[in-house]
């Protein structure tokens, strides 16, 4: 536990030691604001909720979270510090978790900094804060899902651009797996149960139910399993690289 804490602290500190953290947070907040107010029609709708705000989260995460995740392992590989890290007395799991949790906490910080929009909606009307809270939880879990995918793919390569592109593509697949664009790839030949299975992997379906205020155990389990699976894959990739 202490190891994970030390790794977590180091990783989180390194975000703020470079402009990366500040650039990311500013861009995240500006885009959130722009999408909510212009594309989402926050004022025009005349409703005191944050639907226009949360409905853009999946799409923003699709591009912004891979940008956070791409450096997790690819940069360590590039600078060679991975050799230092992996010869310290820590297990692959501790390294994977420490780094992942730091990145997740960082997206959490960015998410918390969107609080002015919550203040705004409370000032303008009388929203259901329970729904908003649930949606924040859902959004955070979804960011965690994107991040776990990105962390795993980042361990495959030393090139951050490749890590970014791979993560966007795979995340896009997960995001849209409930939609014809992805399902049509399978519906021609695969049995219906598999098609249904793939459809149920969609980030969007799970996120949208949470963001309506319904925290269903199945959605929590879904994100929990997804994150665990990709982090497990991450440790496998590290061990595989060790033998390489």
């Amino acid at each position: 536990m202490n190891m994970i804490k030390a790794l977590f602290r180091r990783e989180l500190m390194s975000y703020f030691a470079t402009p990366v953290a500040y650039v990311f947070i500013v861009i995240f907040l500006v885009l959130m604001g722009t999408f909510t107010f212009y594309l989402g029609g926050f004022y025009e709708r005349g409703q005191a909720d944050l639907m226009p705000f949360f409905s853009f989260h999946p799409w923003l995460y699709l591009f912004l979270v891979p940008a956070i995740a791409m450096r997790l392992w690819a940069e360590e590989r590039k600078t060679g510090s991975v050799e230092l890290l992996m010869t310290l007395p820590i297990t692959a799991w501790q390294a994977v978790l420490g780094k992942y949790l730091a990145a997740w906490a960082f997206t959490g910080i960015a998410l918390i900094l969107t609080f002015p929009i919550w203040i705004t909606v409370n000032y303008l009307g009388d929203p259901d804060n329970g729904v908003i809270f649930a949606a924040y939880i859902g959004s955070f879990l979804m960011a965690g899902g994107f991040l776990a995918i990105g962390a795993c793919l980042s361990a495959i390569t030393r090139n951050q651009v490749i890590a970014f592109v791979l993560t966007v593509v795979v995340s896009f697949g997960f995001l849209l797996s409930g939609f014809p664009m992805v399902l049509d790839l399978f519906s021609g030949w695969a049995p219906q149960s598999i098609v249904d299975g793939i459809a149920s992997l969609s980030f969007l379906t799970h996120f949208s139910s949470i963001s309506k205020g319904v925290i269903d155990l199945r959605d929590l389990v879904y994100f929990g399993l997804l994150i665990s699976a990709f982090l497990y894959a991450n440790t496998i990739v590290l061990q595989w690289k060790q033998a390489d």
Partner: protein
């Protein structure tokens, strides 16, 4: 004494290419082992396998009795490792970086403070402690890497090219540091700087193409050189050069001579099996008898670089 590092049949293959080929050796505390070889000989790969960063294709390695594959954490706790190129986290400062390492090495309380203060002092990191590692010179970066490796006072220290990129003063200091720590530890360094081996190592292993070609003390390795017990004379007067050269060539224990007219030196190579000082003795008597002026007279112990070239097949020359 129980060996601190034990390597048995260690092999690494990348596809068809065998980088490390069935390597076996032991080493124990008190040794400073120099790992020599031309570039690409498999030095770094061997070190990466001993520290557990790279998994061997076959064979095994253990550190203080802990197998690096099955008991990795215990083995790594005993180890300090400076990887090739001394990689660090560039955005950190030496202080935050060393504190991170202290956390991972589970140093706490007084011991933590003492160890941090000691490595900072020994590697002269005080002036750059709060500067990001990114902005440091190569010499400082290397020293931060060394500080990290010795922070927990490990029993086994593995240093991949510890003095690479340092200036002569810094090299000297790092060698002193290595010597001062050698008494109760095992230190393994890889290098292709042969004077370093002579300066700090008690044992040298020469490898090439992943195999051990020689394993002996640097002194005995150097003795294999044809320059072992050779005598180098520098004459002070160019006029007498040829006469001196001819006379030395006639001496009983001299096998043959090499000359360098620009520097007015004649090197007399001793016949193999001749007594240590026989050639020196004969040459010096010759010079006094004939009344020739000598600017320098030197007994050579042997040239490690020459032995190295000979053993590794001249690939480096």
């Amino acid at each position: 004494m129980k060996p601190m590092i034990k390597i048995e049949g260690l092999t690494k293959r990348y596809g068809q290419h065998t980088v490390v080929d069935n390597l076996s050796f032991d080493c124990s505390a008190g040794e400073v082992l120099g790992f020599l070889g031309p570039n690409g000989a498999g030095k770094s790969t061997t070190m990466k396998m001993v520290t557990g960063f790279v998994a061997p294709s076959s064979g095994n390695a253990s550190v203080c009795g802990h197998d690096i594959a099955t008991d990795a954490l215990a083995a790594r706790r005993k180890l300090g490792y400076l990887p090739e190129g001394a990689p660090c986290y560039p955005e950190m400062t030496p202080r935050t970086f060393l504190e991170f390492i202290a956390d991972i090495r589970e140093l706490s309380g007084d011991r933590r403070k003492k160890r941090l203060a000691e490595v900072i002092e020994r590697l002269h990191l005080e002036p750059v402690l709060n500067q990001s590692i990114d902005t440091l010179s190569k010499g400082f970066k290397r020293r931060v890497g060394l500080a990290q490796a010795i922070l927990h006072d490990p029993q086994v220290l593995i240093l991949d090219e510890p003095t690479d990129g340092l200036d002569p003063n810094q090299k000297h200091e790092v060698r002193q540091l290595i010597r001062s720590m050698a008494a109760d530890k095992l230190i393994v360094i890889s290098t292709h700087i042969l004077e370093e081996v002579e300066a700090v190592c008690s044992r040298a292993i020469i490898i090439s193409a992943g195999r051990i070609l020689a394993d002996d003390s640097p002194r005995r390795l150097a003795a294999q050189s044809r320059y072992h017990n050779a005598v180098r004379v520098t004459v002070s007067d160019a006029g007498s050069f040829d006469a001196v050269h001819a006379a030395i060539g006639q001496l009983p224990s001299v096998d043959r001579t090499e000359t360098d007219r620009d520097h007015l030196t004649i090197t007399a190579l001793a016949k193999s099996g001749s007594n240590n000082a026989a050639t020196l003795h004969q040459v010096s008597r010759l010079m006094t008898d004939k009344g020739w002026n000598v600017a320098g007279l030197q007994l050579e112990t042997g040239r490690l670089d020459e032995v190295f070239r000979q053993i590794t097949g001249g690939a480096m020359a």
